[in-house]
Subunit: 515 residues, 2 copies
């Protein structure tokens, strides 16, 4: 057995059975080892941004880690933006990166690069395996690190000789470290605070879906506090039956207005709210100066324990009834296409238990609101502000949950970043309906230029904001990747295409020509 | 005037008038400043790998720096692979990266990231501008750094407030530092060494094209040494009239054979030859153990001075005649398509002064040889082993040289990495003919798996090496980006498409269905 085989066996024995891969020559022995273990699922992505985004989407739905297989420093570079997004989403990823053999690193070969440097610029945990005898143990360590603290980016760098030299066998799994918990005094203080006028409970992480979301709703019902969630969230239960929650909006001034009368924000599983960007003369944080920010449980602490302790402290019981969204399906709109109508059609047709991946940016402001009362579903959003997450994330979510419908809502600017994921959807027959909002530009930048005080703009700004001349043809782009597609510019054609996408089992793409 | 305006004026006054851009909100004031200076050419790339690859191609042809405009750490991540390639090509790039306003960085906002960390993992020079008053001077410094030592990756990070706060004015240009030169004794020793049996002169950088290439040929003629060049080179004059030169091949064993009887390798403008990868039981360096490696002039030293000093020392004069390639155009092949025939057709039709960008990897082994005796042209190749360079590099070369025909030869696996560059070619009406070799897989990895001793392989290796099920449709992919395209599977259709591409002024794409 060589090092690579010992690592593959370690991954499998530790429950890591899916790898999103784009390997190169330095990973050949690892590929050979994967090849002799068909129980490992290897999903090829034609660009590494697809691998890291897919591993992120996989974690968000599966609540466990997948691997990515990357090729030296440029491979990590290509994966970087979606590793950044995954880091901000508190997703765990086991990132395996091949390097040159140790003895080869003294020479300036073409692919020699600073893998440790780029990895440390985004990973929580980075290790270079020193020799083949260590690879199995390092494999168990990278898995433990990826699962630690609710999910981390953990990177194991494998010089080629550590893969091809002899090793003894796989390593046993390492027990995860216990999560940090707040003190009883902190919980009691939070319980008292939530009952005061103007108190908000802002939740994140696993508190946003499943039973914990309902528990949070019960806490709000018992205390009278306002239940809140930040703007960008990795995963949230939405639709009928989920506990009502106020979400902070993206623009600074309305965000400030949302928190105008807030006396305290108790955080469980989320960081304090912050403006996405700084603007001249505007504050970085949206709450009033008098508002107390109480960091009861960070995203890295024990969210489940904290929420249960808080529920006990405020007296939640079987009779505590959270306010929930009632099912309210809109009529399916017809006629001229508008984004609001697209949102209503989506809300009307969204199947129960669907997974919605949203990176529709400005279009989403119009499309998303009606889905609040749709059938129960999960929503996954961009968390790190790096565009190009949506289609990879949908790929990973669909891989993790083959029995659920996945719908990806994505702006054309964002979709272009990682359009190669369309091919992986086709290759793996993933049940994803991609809806591209073709507004022919970076609409958010047009808005942001206005935000910084520029009222009209000229040729260079237009050159950088408009994606026109030529117009992207998404039907051809999808077809080129092997995904059937249609262009829709009225509600009838959109509804027909959406129904067809949801009725079929494989991927499809709908281009929405934005009015 | 604000900091952003002072920087744009500094760039223009220092001769940087082209920026390959994909900006975001943190760069809005810089965009506004660019917008008020229409004499700055702003080229939008729909993915940052396009910006860095284009700046690399621009430098290779223009011999001066362009800018890239990137958005925080994920923007640098997306640009990273082609920054790596540019670094290995000794190309200079002025990389401007927007960051959050300084006061905003204390908060964990979505896009906060380790820009300095990722920049330092690939840049030679990184600086964070501390305030608006410093931005102009820092701009002059980043330009000087990018031009230093024959070309460096130089990154200036601009917190948003340094762009929007008041500044005084542009900075004057800073004199470049003098390049290091070898001593007279080293030159004399090299001159003597080149006259001995088995001596090789290996050249790189600007010695590979223009008058220095001929000078190197004259040195070889006077000394009887063998003139050589490494495998991966940023730019080389090729075709009729250029001095004959032996290029090292990619595979290790033939590379070792090429150097079997070499007693010394004198390096001018290039690093010592190294195996691309390490393999079990094979050496990292290809020369015999007895061969002297003489590092006369590194890629960062004064190549022109050194080559002239060496020429003087060996007695080059007006009568020194280099061995050159004679024009020998093949007949245009017909019938069944083979890669060798494609190479002959290309050699026959290649216009004088064309720029050939080559990332055709395994297909190139067959396609490139006939171009040795084609009309005089420049060849640009991948230098850092990170695939996805070709189409961005062609974009930059065509921007730098609007009067020259550009032909991009690219494998399908490589082309998928940065296919968004097709749109930029269309938007800018760049005169690029892209030839995609569709062999439906990472052919080099199939070969490399054999190299590490695996004779047959199974489902997981096939899943990661084959780009099939579905087959990529390059005609549709090109059409989607606004580039006309055709699929060719016999020589008549290929020749017709190539002639049409060369006859038109804008971009086009030819999919070659590999036999």
């Amino acid at each position: 057995m060589n090092g690579a085989e010992s690592l593959v066996k370690t991954l499998l024995q530790n429950g890591v059975d899916t790898v999103f891969a784009n390997p190169g020559t330095s990973e050949m022995h690892f590929v050979a080892a994967l090849d002799s273990h068909p129980e490992m699922t290897c999903v090829l992505c034609l660009f590494e941004g697809g691998t890291s985004g897919a591993a992120d989407g996989y974690f968000r739905m599966k609540r466990d880690v997948a691997g990515t297989l990357l090729h030296l420093a440029p491979g990590v570079g290509n994966a970087y933006a979606n590793l950044h997004n995954a880091r901000k989403a508190t997703s765990g990823i086991v990132s395996i990166v091949g390097d040159h053999a140790t003895h080869h690193l003294r020479y300036e070969s073409p692919l020699k690069g600073d893998i440790v440097g780029i990895s440390q610029a985004v990973s929580h945990w980075t290790r270079v395996s020193p020799d083949a005898a260590c690879v199995a143990h390092d494999g168990a360590e990278v898995i433990r690190a990826a699962r630690a603290d609710n999910g981390q980016i953990a990177t194991l760098i494998l010089p080629a000789n550590t893969a091809w030299d002899p090793a003894t066998g796989p390593a046993v799994s390492l027990p995860p470290a216990a999560l940090t918990r707040p003190s009883s005094a902190e919980v009691a203080a939070a319980a008292a605070r939530l009952k005061t006028e103007g108190a908000a409970l802002m939740i994140g992480g696993e508190a946003l879906f499943g039973p914990l979301r309902q528990l949070a709703g019960q806490i709000a019902a018992e205390t009278g506090c306002r239940l809140m969630v930040d703007t960008l969230i990795p995963r949230i239960s939405k639709g009928a039956g989920s506990a009502k929650i106020d979400q902070l909006v993206y623009p600074v001034d309305p965000k400030i207005a949302q928190l105008a009368h807030t006396s305290s924000i108790t955080l469980v599983g989320t960081d304090r709210p912050v403006a996405f960007f700084a603007y001249p003369g505007k504050p970085s944080v949206p709450e009033p100066a008098t508002c107390v920010i109480a960091d009861l449980c960070t995203p890295r602490m024990d969210i489940e324990w904290t929420l249960q302790a808080l529920a006990d402290a405020v007296g939640v019981n079987a009779q505590s009834r959270p306010r929930t969204y009632a099912l309210d399906l809109p009529d399916i709109p017809t006629g001229t296409l508008t984004l609001d109508k697209v949102g209503r059609a989506l809300a009307a047709l969204l199947p129960e238990n669907a997974i919605l991946c949203n990176e529709s940016v400005t279009s989403g402001f119009h499309v998303m609101p009606p889905t609040a009362t749709a059938r129960p579903h999960d929503l996954l959003s961009g968390t790190g502000g790096a565009i190009g997450l949506c289609m990879p994330c949908a790929t990973g979510a669909a891989t993790a949950c083959p029995d659920q419908k996945v719908i990806a809502l994505v702006g054309d600017g964002s979709a272009m970043y990682t359009l190669q994921s369309l091919w992986t959807m086709a290759r793996e027959s993933l049940d994803v309906t991609v809806i591209v909002f073709a507004n022919k530009g970076y609409q958010i930048l047009r808005d942001e230029l206005t935000n910084v005080g520029v009222e009209s703009y000229g040729q260079n700004a237009r050159a950088m904001f408009d994606v026109e001349n030529p117009t992207l043809d998404w039907v051809s782009l999808a077809k080129g990747h092997g995904v059937p597609a249609s262009r829709t510019d009225d509600m009838d054609s959109f509804v027909r295409a959406l129904k067809a996408g949801l009725d079929s089992d494989g991927p499809s793409l709908i281009e929405v020509v934005c009015p």
